[in-house]
């Protein structure tokens, strides 16, 4: 079995959408069902990067779990001097992988800034949303673009993400590799 280890509920929902899209495009075997059970939310980035939170998963490694893909946000250095921004996030996940010492195939994917930034960047209406953000000065309230992506999700309860956008390519490749 494979496992995707992510931060929380939003990632969980988003990943299920992209996995369904990959399966519809026959990039993931159709016999794989219930993607939810392949995704393990850890309850935030700090938990995801804390080796003490892996007691249960440690028991499953090499028995039930044979491949792992970590997916999380790099966030901002201002908020987290140790693991904020892309470079620090890479160092923290590399340290975690070393500490966990799992003798299985492990990979990771880090969202530039965060999932909300990532999604807004791929929208066809990106410019409109960015104008909205600027006009309402949303970044002042929340620099993570959570508000902007929430507006998008509110407008489109079943978000029509454009998974053909090039920004998704690397993530799609890693997910496809994981399930094959």
């Amino acid at each position: 079995m494979v496992k995707i280890i992510c931060e929380g509920g939003d990632d969980h929902s988003f990943l299920q959408l992209i996995l369904n899209d990959l399966q519809e495009n026959k990039l993931i075997p159709e016999e794989i069902t219930s993607f939810g059970s392949y995704i393990q939310p850890m309850g935030g980035k700090s938990s995801l990067l804390d080796k003490e939170k892996y007691t249960t998963i440690n028991k499953q490694i090499n028995k039930k779990i044979k491949k792992v893909l970590f997916i999380f946000d790099c966030d901002f250095e201002d908020d987290d001097k140790k693991c904020g921004n892309l470079e620090n996030s890479e160092r923290c996940i590399d340290n975690l992988i070393t500490e966990l010492n799992w003798k299985i195939e492990i990979d990771y994917y880090i969202f530039d800034k965060n999932l909300d930034y990532f999604i807004i960047d791929t929208l066809k209406e990106k410019d409109t949303f960015l104008s909205c953000e600027k006009c309402l000065d949303l970044k002042k309230l929340n620099k993570n673009r959570k508000l902007l992506s929430s507006i998008y999700k509110e407008l489109y309860p079943k978000p029509p993400y454009d998974f053909t956008h090039k920004n998704f390519d690397e993530l799609k490749q890693k997910l496809t590799k994981l399930f094959n």
């Binding site: 059970s37 249960t56 028991k59 028995k63 039930k64």
Partner: protein, 316 residues
């Protein structure tokens, strides 16, 4: 935990097990895994192990019990088809060989004698307090035998109250002229429970066993068999609370996601209500790697978090 509980097991050369270890068992242990992975065999090994403190002879008795529970229907069918005691005896020997244990072979003859002498399994079990509830329907004979224990110990009213938790319309359960019957609040006439479906019979056999196995062990194969998913919470509530009250260690197998979720949900509720302890709950997941059987044991917190996170614990 009380010292009579089985907390770990090592299984070597037993059925599908070559060299297997599992630990961390608690009072109530639910075992999950894919079809034919070895869930029942694991439970059978635990059952046999609970007899191991006595002698090889008691181990053989335990194995003969299992064989009769798992295969008796087909043995009796063969007898009725006129295939004769010799044919059935050979089949029993073949089944015993599946257990693949050298220590057991020395006692095969004793087992066969016991089968023949006592008419294929109708054996005095007065001193036997461990119970193995098979996946198939319990016979009226066995239910009647269990009911005898309930009567002797004055537990009829208590049993009626527990059965009411399953179906609030039922007033009482009795065995009348060797037939299991119950009557209803709005109808005093006793009706044969076979007319009411297999679920109630399954419930009653489990409830009886929880009392019969006081300070001992209860093994339930495919626990969800015949039970509607909406009644699983009630079943777990009964098992978790009565097993604690009666000091019974329970092992049960399932491959039902609903059953595992119900187990986690009810355990959490009862723990929050302080009716059980965290130390009463365990889940054992079985799977195979390169055809070698392995296990993962989850404690209370791990079961709850895995189910809350929608993880699949039905084996690999």
């Amino acid at each position: 935990m009380s010292n009579h509980l089985l907390e770990y097991i090592e299984i070597k050369d037993f059925k599908c097990f070559k060299d297997f270890k599992a630990e961390g068992f608690k009072r109530v242990n639910l075992i999950g895994g894919k079809n034919n992975v070895g869930k029942t065999a694991f439970m059978e090994a635990c059952y046999v192990n609970t007899y191991s403190y006595k002698s090889e002879n008691t181990i053989s008795m335990a194995i003969s019990d299992i064989i009769m529970i798992r295969y008796n229907q087909t043995f009796f069918q063969d007898l009725f088809l006129g295939k004769g005691i010799e044919y059935v005896g050979n089949r029993i020997i073949n089944k015993i060989k599946e257990f693949d244990s050298n220590e057991i072979y020395s006692n095969i003859q004793n087992i066969i004698c016991s089968f023949e002498k006592e008419d294929l399994g109708v054996r005095d079990k007065k001193n036997r307090i461990k119970s193995f509830v098979g996946s198939s329907k319990i016979s009226d004979d066995k239910l009647e035998s269990s009911y005898g224990f309930i009567i002797e110990n004055g537990l009829e009213d208590k049993i009626d109250k527990i059965i009411k938790l399953v179906d609030s319309n039922i007033k009482s359960f009795r065995i009348i002229n060797s037939e299991p019957k119950c009557n209803f609040l709005n109808n005093p006439k006793f009706i044969n429970i076979h007319e009411l479906g297999d679920g109630l019979l399954r419930y009653i056999s489990i409830i009886f066993s929880l009392f019969i196995c006081q300070k001992s062990f209860l093994f339930i194969d495919e626990i969800e068999n015949g039970i509607h998913y909406s009644k699983l919470d009630k079943l777990w509530e009964i098992i978790l609370t009565i097993s604690k009250e009666q000091t019974v260690q329970v092992f049960a197998t399932t491959h039902s996601k609903e059953c595992i979720e119900s187990y986690a949900r009810v355990s959490k509720k009862l723990e929050e209500e302080q009716k059980i302890d965290k130390d009463d709950v365990c889940f054992i997941e079985l799977g195979r790697n390169d055809n070698v059987l392995e296990s993962i044991t989850y404690n209370y917190e791990e079961v709850i978090s895995q189910i809350t996170d929608h993880q699949d614990l039905r084996g690999w």
